[in-house]
């Protein structure tokens, strides 16, 4: 026993005691935060619109990580439940590298979203991500963020939420987020995931907005698959949050006016209490409206439109459905059918005026979605009602994790134009019928 405690004499390969040779060089401990400390702050306008970019082939989760790396994030909290993405794990790596100032693992999503509320109230820039069942578990605090005027960015990597439990993509959870009073973006691909996330921080923190932003994507298709992403150099980052410029004072326990400002004001049951809550809700949605100009400024609009001139039909889609729709439009072009594509980037605020203008003369609108209920079709139909005579096909829909063959979309365009009965969309999901079938039949016979 005592022998084992004796100091071990190490030898070099020649058998000489190691002490007889020069002492090994002790490498200076490398500062893991060194690269992060070298980051320089640049203006959002430069970073978003002017800074040179390089292309990389990365997953959507990695794109989110790279966006956070450049976003000067103070606080991130993770609950990496399955079915999540690896995004929050990657944000943990950023914390280790010093790009995120504070990071920890929450107990569950309710706690995570509540932590984001506390941190945002305290005045720091916050980020988290969740998915599917996690979104719904956290939805009560999420729905309270806008009312408290809390700027933050949350990534929703959409997954099924219905029983039976599954981990496949299905964006039905977005329908639950649309009426919270938060701003909601829907990313088509890894590039959108990267750009939307960074821009979301800046839009979220504008004084006249001061609202949380949900950056949604279709889980797996975007988070786990790789795509090309054009990114600015990692040596740059956004300016820090200027919490003192927010629409509400930050939580400050030392200063009574600020502390008292966040005391619950509407606990009394009388007309005034009801009135203040009603006005408060109006103000939250007014702030959503005010975000439009910043979305136009930084994201180039709430939607993008392609090949709309003289289009026979228009496909309106968001998220991964936009990617499938672009391919379907190409197949249509091969067949001689001119199809325009409208990709909706911002679901809240919703591009109502833009759609009314673009769809004014449309004959047929097809709205493919990755969910059962067709929330986007409802939004579109409500927006353009009375402003377009187009026949609206709320479909095709895939759900439960199915992918969407582009032929499904192509079939709906063709059947919509010819009047042929669809095999995928029930009649109940077809709105408007003021289409001159003779015209389109003639058209179809001549292509």
């Amino acid at each position: 026993m005592s022998e084992s405690l004796e100091a071990e004499v190490k030898t070099n390969p020649q058998g000489d005691p190691i002490t007889s040779v020069a002492a090994p060089k002790v490498e200076a401990k490398k500062d893991p935060h060194a690269e992060a400390k070298k980051q320089t702050v640049v203006s959002p306008e430069y970073l978003f619109l002017e800074a040179p970019r390089k292309r990389e082939f990365i997953t959507g989760s990695e794109a989110a990580k790279e966006a956070v790396r450049r976003s000067n994030v103070d606080f991130a909290v993770a609950y990496p439940i399955t079915p999540q993405s690896e995004t929050m794990q990657l944000i943990g790596v950023l914390y280790g590298e010093g790009y995120v100032k504070e990071y920890y693992r929450g107990e569950e999503e309710y706690g995570v979203m509540s932590s984001i509320a506390g941190a945002s109230r305290a005045g720091v820039r916050c980020y988290t991500a969740t998915a599917g069942p996690g979104t719904l578990r956290g939805i009560e605090p999420i729905a309270s963020w806008p009312g408290h005027r809390l700027p933050a960015v949350c990534m929703f990597t959409c997954r099924v939420v219905n029983a039976p439990l599954a981990i496949q993509p299905d964006n039905i959870e977005i329908s639950y987020l649309l009426n919270c009073g938060m701003i909601v973006f829907h990313a088509e691909n890894q590039q959108d995931m990267y750009d939307f996330t960074m821009k979301a921080f800046i839009i979220s923190e504008k004084n006249d907005v001061t609202l949380p932003v949900g950056v949604c994507c279709d889980g797996f298709f975007v988070t786990h698959a790789r795509g090309y992403v054009h990114m600015q150099d990692r040596s740059m980052k956004l300016p820090p949050r200027e919490a003192w410029r927010g629409a509400v004072p930050v939580l400050d326990a030392e200063n009574p006016p600020a502390r008292l400002s966040r005391d619950a004001p509407v606990q009394k049951s009388n007309f005034m209490a009801y009135n203040i809550h009603a006005v408060w809700q109006q103000e939250v949605w007014a702030a959503v409206e005010r975000s439009r100009k910043y979305i136009n400024q930084y994201m180039g609009g709430l939607l993008s439109a392609e090949n709309m001139e003289n289009a026979d039909a228009v496909i309106i889609a968001s998220g991964s459905a936009a990617a499938q729709s672009r391919e379907a439009a190409r197949l249509c072009a091969d067949k001689g059918i001119k199809v325009g594509l409208i990709k909706v980037r911002s679901l809240r605020p919703f591009p109502t005026d833009e759609l009314r203008k673009l769809c004014k003369d449309a004959k047929l609108i097809v709205i493919p979605e990755f969910n059962y209920v067709g929330w986007l079709a409802r939004e579109v139909a409500t927006a353009i009602y009375g402003h377009s005579k187009a026949k609206i096909i709320a479909g095709p829909h895939v759900y439960g994790g199915q992918s969407m063959p582009v032929e499904l979309i192509l079939d709906e365009v063709e059947s919509g134009l010819t009047g042929k009965k669809s095999t995928n969309v029930p009649l109940s999901a077809i709105m408007g019928a003021d289409v001159n079938q003779a015209d389109v039949t003639h058209f179809m016979q001549n292509i």
Binding site: R149, N207, D208, T210, R245, G246, A247, V248, P249, N255, P256, P257, A258, L260, S261, D263, P265, V266, K268, M272, A273, N275, I276, A278, V279, W280, Q282, E283, W285, A286, E289, R290, K293
Partner: protein
């Protein structure tokens, strides 16, 4: 968005607009860009025109009142103190004006004294209680200013104005933005010019600010005061306490 020249029809006007009218944003009113202002829900390209209209309304409306908010009532920093001084310079140009503070945002339960404070949770009570027909908000955080302006437009006949340090307020009938100390001093100058053009004189002793009943009690029954006597210093003397609302009262309400 339409400007005052393109569309003379006003959108945001003194109320009562109704039980629960749509917000200005719902009516399509958008905030102005730098250098511009909003005049009754229409874009006014020259903010000085808005300031002149503010002066005309404040100088001609019964019981015109300034509502200073926490950002100018409390000596958070030197900038806040300078803005408070500039606000008193504006007050010094309006004969018979009242100054009622909004020292914090907590509702005053069980009962508000409308002669003591205004509060964003029930601002109409202070407007009604003092029969105020024109008012200017300065130094209120934007969210709470917006709540206040909506409720006043809904339930009272008061013409609301907001001199905002950020982007302005679409629910105010008149608003300007980016209001730092220099712009507040410009407002005081424009008010002086308009007042002189209208032939309105200030009292010789400079006591043009009218105390509310509560304030009068604090000051031994005096009815008027000279606002320039209340100039704060960097230690925060004056501020909300000068208008009858002090830290002890806030503690009592906590």
């Amino acid at each position: 968005m339409e400007t005052t020249k393109q569309k003379p029809e006003r959108i945001i006007t003194p109320g009562p607009a109704g039980f629960h009218p749509p917000s200005a944003a719902q009516l399509g009113v958008m905030l102005p860009d730098p250098g511009q202002g909003l005049m009754y829900g229409l874009l006014e390209p020259h903010e000085e025109n808005v300031i002149e209209e503010m002066a005309r309304v404040m100088l001609t409306s019964p019981n015109a009142t300034l509502f200073p908010g926490p950002m100018v009532l409390w000596a958070w920093n030197d900038h806040a103190v300078e803005k408070a001084k500039a606000l008193l310079e504006i007050a010094a140009q309006i004969p018979n004006v009242m100054i009622i503070p909004m020292p914090d945002y907590r509702p005053k339960y069980p009962k508000i004294d409308p002669e003591e404070v205004i509060n964003p949770n029930h601002p109409n009570l202070t407007i009604w209680g003092n029969k105020i027909e024109a008012c200017i908000f300065i130094g209120v955080h934007c969210h709470y200013a917006n709540l206040t302006l909506k409720m006043i437009r809904a339930g009272t006949n008061c013409c609301t104005m907001a001199i905002c340090a950020e982007q302005g307020h679409e629910d105010a009938m008149l608003t300007i933005r980016d209001s730092d100390t220099a712009k507040l001093k410009l407002v005081a100058k424009v008010f002086k010019r308009v007042r002189e053009q209208m032939g309105l004189k200030l009292p010789d002793n400079g006591e043009n600010v009218r105390f509310t009943g509560t304030q009068s009690k604090v000051y031994g029954g005096k009815t008027h005061t000279n606002p320039l006597d209340f100039m704060p210093n960097s230690t925060g003397v004056a501020g909300a306490a000068a208008f009858g609302h002090n830290a002890e009262q806030m503690k009592r309400e906590a």
